[in-house]
Subunit: 488 residues, 2 copies
């Protein structure tokens, strides 16, 4: 084998890593010959666009451009790219829609950026087996829409679901608004078809609903951030679609009352709500401003959005009443019930807009994805308040309070020494999160953005296991290098 | 380090394996000194008793006695045993209650058998975080009883739950009667505390309900059959306990009608039942004989047992009626509804007795744990009928029809050439199972019993990955060697 590629020049800031090569013009030509016309790009502007996700490049030490882009259209083409790159020790970074929040799809060390956007077919909605078979480039929300047409539901529901690809959801084990009841993306996976870094096609699981034949690699791949294998086909469980649902909007006098209330639903009404979302006062204000809308009780310390489901009118009505009563007995100023689709959609649009609104109105902020045991949410919220006071920052707290996963945003626009303040406040919050039995990321992932901080939360033994399991799948280290832990 | 141990003498029938040593009298003495009195046993009778599970030793090439038994009482003592054995390359086989059905806890290559029976405390039922913290030696059903006292439920429900230990359930990713609705044991795990083969204590996950910080090793360990790490503490999710439940006993004219009916519940009533269990005519007859009881309609081709839950009387009544009506419209001869505890318990006792009854009345049989996509259950049932006719065998089919996992038993007592018939019939069924998109084991595990057959169902690439991931956790190969795949 002749080597045409230049040796990797950019030095990985974390040192110790396998030897990898850059991809050059010859590689673009060879890959183009391999895949056929129109599937390889070396256009610089396009490479820039594709080589990032929703994380500002500045938060990850600047831009990380790929050397070239490939757009395979089948599992076989993905395998051909893998074999080519494997032989030449060229990194491959898989990419979905680029809606990620941790730099998981950002090519840390150059090489080939492999976009799944052309593998975007829903191959099957299998009613008999309650599952969907999809390619990784399908937009997440389309799966639920296709399921709905058959009276079924796909319950993975990340806030970015109207744009994100299911392949990225699997790679990041994406969470979202229904995890409290149905689990994250990983819990929806029945089977995966993958391409290993050396180009072999391997299937894990299938349409069967149980499987203890070998290790549970499908579940290991969920959340492995594209570092172990390239996912080319996904079998997802579907559930019967509940006939009715209702959303409750519950303004609470204080943030503390709102977060203390949530665990009472399961204990006292004996129902796990489909969603239990939080927006603090500033999150509400941002959504109002971003969408030019109005919330009732904008002066409330926090709003909760609860969603409940049921098949029968009375069953759901009972459930809504029980939760609403408990809400009012626990400090809610009022309870608004949205049963029609339009009001529910408006409410959810507001909730889902907060992340974007922050990006639109602020440029200097820390965007965190902390998760703690649900009983510790009040203490995490207190810690955020303390950090804001101590470092003179504003804060926005919102997110999946039902499962203890809060998106904490510290805002430092126009402040002197903004970076120092943000850095110190983040470290303070990380320390408190650890003390509370929590961890660094509940759903956004580690990727490139958090790999240094991950060291605080993962023991040396666990980091070593991560590296060794990575090597078990990818001895050459070509697949999404530089992610999750230092030295990976 | 002085080596006191004899080199392993028994030759592994699958060849290729790391060099391991036997444990001798000196090792017993040293371990005893390390752990304190009464925690090590070399009593031959006791070793024989502990060195097996529910699989007849003859089905695994004869007895596989350990060299000695240890009974640690804490994570630290487990770690001390691991360090000792790791230094000396002595195998450790972890053992729960010995209720396993695949030889997972049978010491394939001698060494130390580590019983978790003294680590049997429920450490916490955490109502605020809806979780239980338990040691591995807790009897599974006790967890649900402790949860019930607080209005909560642990939904892992293997048929052996009154005897099995939760640690064994985790290691085997045990299934049972509620998987169709709630998932297997793995789906209940929030966190694990483990001892790696080299003696390090490592925690994965915790009381938090989401975590994408690093790989999902807690889920990888579920079903890893004790080959990757020793599990010393388990954090399990609990759910609000439904206030009411009802069991339906539905005799169907034919087995084919019964299995064709089950998927209609989710599609047409839009409810996933808590349980959907099958007993064919012969399974019913065996339960009747074993428990000296009577089923209604013993002439029916099969009985289904369905369980439904709800919080409100009317909600549950509606659900029972809808499912019952559909049942009657689909070939059920009658529908019996058991709402009181006594009748429900009687029904479940009958269902759970079938496995034991077979062992009590027969000595030559193949006990299979096949799983296929639910839509393929009718074809699997047909294949069992065909195999029975072709090889002149009787068959008993029962189990978790709701998730496509059937316990198929072929009976050959008093037949000439019983082993040949059973072997050929099994291979025929494996071939059909593969064609139907199914696999070898849905919940019993591979262990020692099925490791050779696993090769039919796992690709060479997947087998290689299993071995490499095994080595990532256990480079010395001392932890439960000889399981899952040949050469492990």
């Amino acid at each position: 084998m002749e080597r045409r590629s230049r040796r990797l020049e950019r030095k990985d800031p974390f040192g110790r890593h396998p030897r990898l090569n850059r991809a050059g013009a010859e590689d673009a030509a060879e890959l183009s010959a391999l895949l056929g016309p129109g599937k390889v790009s070396v256009d610089e502007e396009r490479i820039r666009t594709y080589s990032r996700d929703e994380v500002p490049p500045a938060a990850m030490g600047g831009p990380h451009p790929a050397d070239l882009l490939v757009f395979p259209e089948s599992a076989e083409e993905v395998a051909a790219v893998a074999r080519y790159c494997h032989d030449r020790r060229i990194p491959i970074t898989p990419r979905g829609a680029g809606t990620g929040l941790s730099g998981g799809a950002v090519p840390a060390r150059g090489g080939v950026l492999l976009s799944f956007e052309r593998m975007n077919r829903i191959l099957e909605i299998d009613e008999a087996n309650l599952c969907a078979v999809v390619e990784p480039g399908v937009v997440t929300a389309e799966i639920d829409r296709a399921a709905a047409a058959r009276g079924l539901a796909y319950v993975g529901d990340p806030c970015s679901g109207d744009a994100s690809f299911i392949g990225g959801n699997v790679a990041e084990n994406a969470g979202g608004n229904k995890v409290v009841r149905y689990g994250a993306t990983g819990a929806q996976i029945l089977g995966l078809e993958t391409v290993l870094p050396n180009g072999s096609l391997v299937r894990f699981g299938g349409k069967r609903r149980k499987d203890v034949t070998g290790y549970d690699f499908a579940r290991l791949l969920a959340g492995s951030e594209g570092t172990l294998a390239l996912i080319v086909r996904i079998i997802l469980r579907l559930l019967p679609r509940p006939r009715r649902s209702a959303a409750l909007l519950c303004p609470f006098r204080t943030l503390a009352e709102a977060v203390a209330f949530v665990p009472r639903i399961a204990r006292e009404v004996r129902v796990i709500p489909t969603s239990a979302e939080l927006m603090d006062r500033r999150a509400v204000a941002l959504a109002e401003r971003y969408l030019s809308t109005r919330f009732p009780h904008p002066e409330a310390g926090a709003h909760l959005i609860l969603e409940l489901e049921g098949n029968h009118r009375e069953e759901l009505a009972d459930r809504v009443e029980a939760v609403g009563d408990l809400c009012l007995a626990s400090g809610a100023l009022e309870v608004y019930v949205a049963e029609d689709r339009t009001s529910r959609d408006r409410l959810w649009r507001a909730r889902k807009s907060v992340g974007e609104a922050i990006g639109a109105f602020y440029s200097k902020f820390a965007k965190e994805d902390l998760v703690v045991p649900t009983s510790a949410v009040p203490e995490l919220v207190e810690a955020v308040g303390e950090a804001a006071v101590r470092w003179g920052l504003d804060s926005v707290t919102y997110g999946h309070v039902g499962d203890g996963n809060l998106h904490v945003n510290l805002l430092a626009d126009d402040l002197p020494e903004a970076d120092r303040r943000l850095g110190e406040a983040r470290r303070f919050l990380y320390g408190r999160t650890l003390e509370l039995g929590g961890t660094l990321s509940g759903e956004h992932g580690i990727g490139l953005k958090r790999r240094r901080d991950a060291g605080l939360f993962l023991s040396p033994e666990e980091r070593a296991l991560i590296r060794r399991v990575k090597r078990a799948f990818d001895p050459a280290g070509i697949l999404n290098p530089g992610k999750i832990v230092e030295g990976n």
